[in-house]
């Protein structure tokens, strides 16, 4: 699939709900930051040097080691994409919102299945990332690591024995590794256990954020948990640590779901069916309402309250009903009120096509 096709397709591999522990864990992601020796970091980088780095990455991704590990990779400069297409890559979690600034200095590399990507000249010269459905942090790290091995044969990465990989921001120095899992925790929110859990996580050196990264709210009961420390631990230690915590959260969430369903069967069923009804028949729906109702629907699917709805569909709808995606699907720039109407139409069509 070319990058142009990628942006017009709401489906990404990470939305596929077939991964391990996928009743709670939506996706796993690993990102490693790398910088080239001899160039200023991106925030001080001129156009000429930015170009040189893009060319260097472009030739390096042709390496046979990488192609063997992850398949074909395609590089696109941000300027080759329309503003809507760029925004869609953000909504699909394939690039960070920061990539939207200074597009003339930036490029993105994606594998055909969207699992592996490299952001070029974001905060660091390279940010290699890997995104898979369910709890697959080890697999993500292995893939990202093999891309790194392949690139490293050609590119000189800034590294010192003592401090490890050097990065623009000192919070990423060392392994340059940030691993995260995205979790759907409706029952822990409903039973009001979430706050004490979040406090505990921060004591374990982990950060919790909303769906779209730093500074965003946890709408739709979706939380992203990631490691904070990147220096002094090995990559395997960081990954194992996060897996252990993620499994704890899975256990807690499952227990809370069972308890809720047992003690408040009718309230839960009512909530789920109401969400289903609203999504199926509403004529206008805001982005936030959609996220929250889809969260309830997903809980209903996971608890087998509503049969015949594929798990992946709920996440696909969340991505599909984000503002830029709606514009893309409609083929025109919609105002918020028009978007709310179109969002409701799309959700209705998707859900009704299932039941017919």
């Amino acid at each position: 699939m070319s990058l142009k096709e990628t942006v017009s397709n709401p489906y990404s591999k990470w939305l596929d709900a077939s991964g391990p522990e996928s009743d709670v864990i939506i996706s796993s992601r690993v990102r490693i930051a790398r910088n080239l020796v001899g160039y200023p970091f991106p925030h001080l980088l001129g156009y000429d040097n930015a170009d040189k780095i893009i060319y260097a990455v472009q030739s390096a991704i042709l390496s046979s080691t990488i192609q063997k590990a992850v398949g074909e990779l395609e590089l696109s400069r941000m300027t080759e994409l329309s503003p809507t297409e760029r925004q869609i890559l953000v909504e699909k979690h394939l690039i960070s919102p920061d990539m939207l600034e200074h597009p003339e200095k930036r490029a993105v590399v994606l594998s055909t299945n969207e699992v592996v990507g490299i952001m070029v000249n974001e905060e660091d010269h390279l940010r290699i990332q890997c995104l898979l459905p369910g709890l697959q942090l080890k697999e993500c790290w292995e893939l990202a690591n093999s891309v790194d091995d392949g690139l490293e044969q050609i590119l000189d990465f800034a590294f010192t024995e003592e401090m490890g990989y050097l990065t623009s921001c000192p919070t990423n120095v060392g392994t340059g590794l940030r691993a995260s899992v995205m979790l759907h925790l409706p029952a822990l929110v409903m039973t009001q256990q979430i706050n004490s859990i979040l406090t505990t996580l921060s004591k374990l050196g982990l950060t919790v954020r909303g769906l779209y990264g730093e500074g965003t709210q946890a709408t739709g009961n979706l939380f992203q948990v990631s490691n904070q420390v990147t220096l002094g631990l090995t990559e395997d230690e960081i990954i194992d640590n996060l897996i252990m915590v993620a499994m704890q959260l899975v256990t807690q969430e499952r227990a809370a779901r069972r308890a809720l369903y047992k003690e408040q069967k009718y309230q839960i069923e009512d909530r789920v069916w109401r969400a289903y009804g609203l999504l199926k028949y509403a004529r206008t729906i805001t982005s936030m309402d959609a996220m929250n109702l889809l969260s309830d629907l997903r809980l209903g699917v996971d608890l087998n309250i509503i049969p015949n709805i594929p798990r992946g569909l709920v996440m696909e709808l969340i991505v599909m009903t984000r503002p830029a995606f709606l514009n893309k699907l409609k083929g025109e720039e919609l105002n918020p009120a028009q978007r709310d109407i179109y969002r409701a139409t799309l959700i209705r069509e998707k859900l009704n096509s299932l039941s017919s």
Binding site: N35, V37, Y39, P40, F41, H43, L44, P83, Q87, V90, E91, P97, L100, E123, N145, D148, D149, E152, Q153, D156, F157, A158, F159, T160, E161, E162, M163, G164, Y165, L166, S168, C169, P170, T171, V173, G174, T175, G205, Y212, G213, E214, G215, T216, Q217, T219, V229, T230, L231, G232, L233, T234, E235, T286, S287, M288, D289, R322, P323, P336, A337
Partner: protein, 170 residues
């Protein structure tokens, strides 16, 4: 005045959006304003982590805030970034800055990560001595393990290999 978006509730908030350099102003009710904000969250700027970090770096670079004597400013010979710039942005200018700003970097890393020594992956082609150092560290761990298990033959093999590697380092 009614809300521009829902046309139902009274407008109470002035909402300004800048998209591709065009400024759009709307008068919204509190409900719609909250929703609009959630909608545009995908493009929200990062929480001010960098400002926070900048403060931290500033502290490490300037030391005692109450000092009255002017401190000579160090700047990176490679990229020209000054301490003041690094302290302001929270970002280093280039990979050389880490050695150029020398002894002031280590305590900063320690404060952020609780450690200032890398123990993770070493690049194979350019890693140089670091690869050997890392192997020695792993072998030493295995040696201790072998001794604990009283596997002395294995321990002897490991000890010889460590010696060999240590000679390579010199």
């Amino acid at each position: 005045m009614l809300c521009d978006r829902c046309q139902k509730r009274p407008a109470q908030v002035h909402f300004t959006q800048v998209i591709n350099n065009t400024k759009k102003q709307m008068s919204l009710c509190t409900v719609c304003a909250a929703e609009m904000q959630a909608e545009s969250m995908a493009a929200f700027p990062q929480l001010n982590l960098h400002d926070f970090l900048a403060g931290l770096i500033n502290h490490h670079f300037t030391g005692n805030q109450l000092q009255t004597k002017a401190i000579p400013q160090v700047s990176c010979e490679k990229c020209g970034a000054t301490e003041a710039q690094v302290a302001k942005s929270g970002l280093f200018g280039c990979s050389e800055c880490y050695s150029q700003f020398g002894q002031r970097v280590k305590p900063l890393l320690k404060r952020i990560h609780g450690s200032s020594r890398h123990t993770g992956k070493v690049p194979r082609r350019t890693g140089g001595k670091a690869i050997i150092t890392k192997e020695i560290r792993i072998l030493k761990g295995q040696l201790q393990e072998a001794i604990n298990q009283e596997e002395f033959e294995k321990a002897a093999r490991l000890r010889d290999r460590i010696k060999e590697l240590e000679q390579q380092l010199q």
